[in-house]
């Protein structure tokens, strides 16, 4: 909405330079599997991207003012759907993968239609409970989910075109990496369009002042359900990719701690931004978390992440996060712009 009444000319270097730096950075990331075959680097990046999609889903629901504290349940739903369809029922990979996100989205739709009538703290509690329910079902429904043993899935089949094997998921990790890039890109494009269109504005309205929005013709539940369902679909795809990447899914992969981590990454990255914030937050903190997990100090990760969340919420107001420091870096340090300040309202 910021571009209204502010026409951006082609020579607006203050806008073009930061964007081209981001573009260059993205190209560099895309080329990483070409330069290195390191399993550690490529697999960490792939997992980062997968979790970033989940974090983006959380941010989209947050845009409507709702706390979805069970986003990892949708990853479990997507992952289990794909695993059950391919392994237990013998369906080919691609249709199963396609269905997995839709199943997860459908369940989000059904839950949303019931819970999002009230929203608020009830929604937070019920999504929290939903995460546990999905985990318990996965644990107890042995004939289908194989209980605590989990399901061993296989890699996606090689893609063959005109008799040539183009992509083989068994020989290297690069195909998974580009698969992840595709998923992140599709999610980013969809979320970008949602943010730019009337939907994004309406989401803002429902979050900032539900009563006012309702009196201006916005049906709150409809827009909350749209956000929750879209988030559910893409989170489900992220879960399915995760399952086929690690080639195993157990009830313990997507639990309460993962949901909370998704929340933390999104908040620290900046919930004011639908794409950049969650991706940046996940990229930094997932990797820091992996590193901290290797140190033998129990609770260090939880302690540090908790402290960072408190700092971000206290010092960066109104949904701002690390991603906003990027803008600050260019305006304050590079261009040395002085901000035009308006009178602060007195309390």
């Amino acid at each position: 909405m910021k571009h209204y009444f502010k026409k951006i000319s082609l020579l607006d270097y203050k806008n073009i330079v930061p964007k081209s730096v981001i573009g260059l950075f993205i190209i560099l990331i895309l080329l990483i599997p070409v330069f290195t075959q390191s399993v550690v680097i490529v697999s960490t990046l792939t997992l980062t991207g997968i979790w970033a999609v989940a974090a983006m889903g959380f941010t989209l629901v947050m845009r409507t003012g709702q706390w979805s504290l069970g986003q990892s349940a949708f990853m479990a739903l997507g992952g289990y759907t794909s695993a059950i369809l391919t392994v237990q029922m013998g369906l080919p990979f691609w249709p199963s993968f396609f269905i997995s996100g839709l199943v997860s989205g459908l369940i989000a739709l059904l839950i949303g239609m019931v819970v999002l009538r009230v929203g608020g703290v009830y929604f937070a509690i019920i999504t929290l409970a939903m995460g546990e329910i999905v985990r318990i079902i996965a644990l107890e429904w042995e004939p289908v989910t194989r209980g605590s043993r989990g399901i061993i899935t296989s890699a996606p089949p090689p893609i063959v075109l005109w008799g040539h094997e183009l992509v083989n998921f068994d020989t290297s990790l690069a195909p998974y990496f580009y698969f992840m890039i595709c998923l992140v890109a599709v999610t980013a494009v969809v979320f970008w369009r949602i943010g730019e269109s009337r939907l994004g504005r309406t989401f803002y309205g429902t979050a900032l002042n539900p009563i006012m929005a309702e009196h201006q013709g916005i049906y709150l539940m409809k827009y909350r359900v749209i956000a929750f369902t879209v988030a559910g679909i893409f989170t489900g795809y992220a879960g399915a990719l995760y399952t086929h990447f690690l080639q195993v899914i157990t009830p313990f992969v997507f639990g309460f701690w993962q949901s909370i981590q998704i929340t933390i990454w999104s908040i620290i990255g900046g919930i004011g931004s639908l794409i950049g914030g969650p991706i940046l937050g996940t990229a930094l903190l997932y990797n820091v978390g992996v590193y901290l997990g290797r140190t033998d100090i129990p609770g260090l990760q939880a302690f540090l992440f908790g402290s960072i969340v408190v700092i971000v919420i206290m010092f960066l107001p109104q949904g701002a996060g690390l991603v906003d420091l990027w803008k600050l870096f260019w305006t304050k340090i590079v261009w040395r712009e002085k901000e035009y300040k308006t009178d602060e309202p007195e309390d």
């Binding site: 009444f5 730019e196 269109s197 939907l199 002042n209 009563i211 309702e214 201006q216 309202p345």
Partner: protein, 254 residues
Amino acid sequence: MSYLELKNVSKHFGRLTALDDVSLQVEKGEILGIVGPNGSGKTTLINVISGYYSPTQGTIAFEGKKISGLRPDKIAKRGIVRTFQSNVLYAGTTVVESMMISSYLQYKTNNWQSFLNTKAWKKDDERAVGRVVELLKMLDLQNDMNLPADGLSHGYQRLLGIAMSLIANPSVLLLDEPTTGMSHKEAMFVVDKIKKISEQGITVILIEHNMKVLMGVATRVICLSFGNKIADGLPEEVMNKQEVVEAYLGTEIL
């Protein structure tokens, strides 16, 4: 058949009767003033019409169709839009952003067209933005477009509230005390604008305590007291009626 018709509307909150058997007809193009002492049910009346509460008894009909019991967003879609008694805004947005969020009902294109950024949507969006600018100019807010809405002065926040209701394309506008906390000059400015809104064919219902404002603008006034309608008529008639004076000032004991 009146334009907006309330038939024997009552609203109870537990044992408290906020509105007691109120019947009211509003004709198209009227500026109806609602007066009454504090706690007499004025805001409840607006809340019942706009769908924030559904009436305990009685029906409300708009253009011949029943609207009581509908959700607020459906009533807003039918064309009844309200403002709020306190300055209720979208926190953290600028003036123009608040207007763009409120412009939901301005659009003829749907969410898919908006999502896919079609030509029809772009055209529609341009028209909506034009309308936003037009309304902000009309309400003297054009210089504050890119300022944060909650940084505006009290009077301008009231005006922004009116602008945000007008962008939702109302045919009936419910104004809940539009001039509270304003100086006489500012209040007269609002009166002027309400007259202009009325000239555009919008029916206005306003709650007002300031009698001078009401005398200048209303074509008809009703008075509520303890949830009952005790007077209905031309402003001068209502102001001088014995019951109204008693409701405001009490009875003489001699």
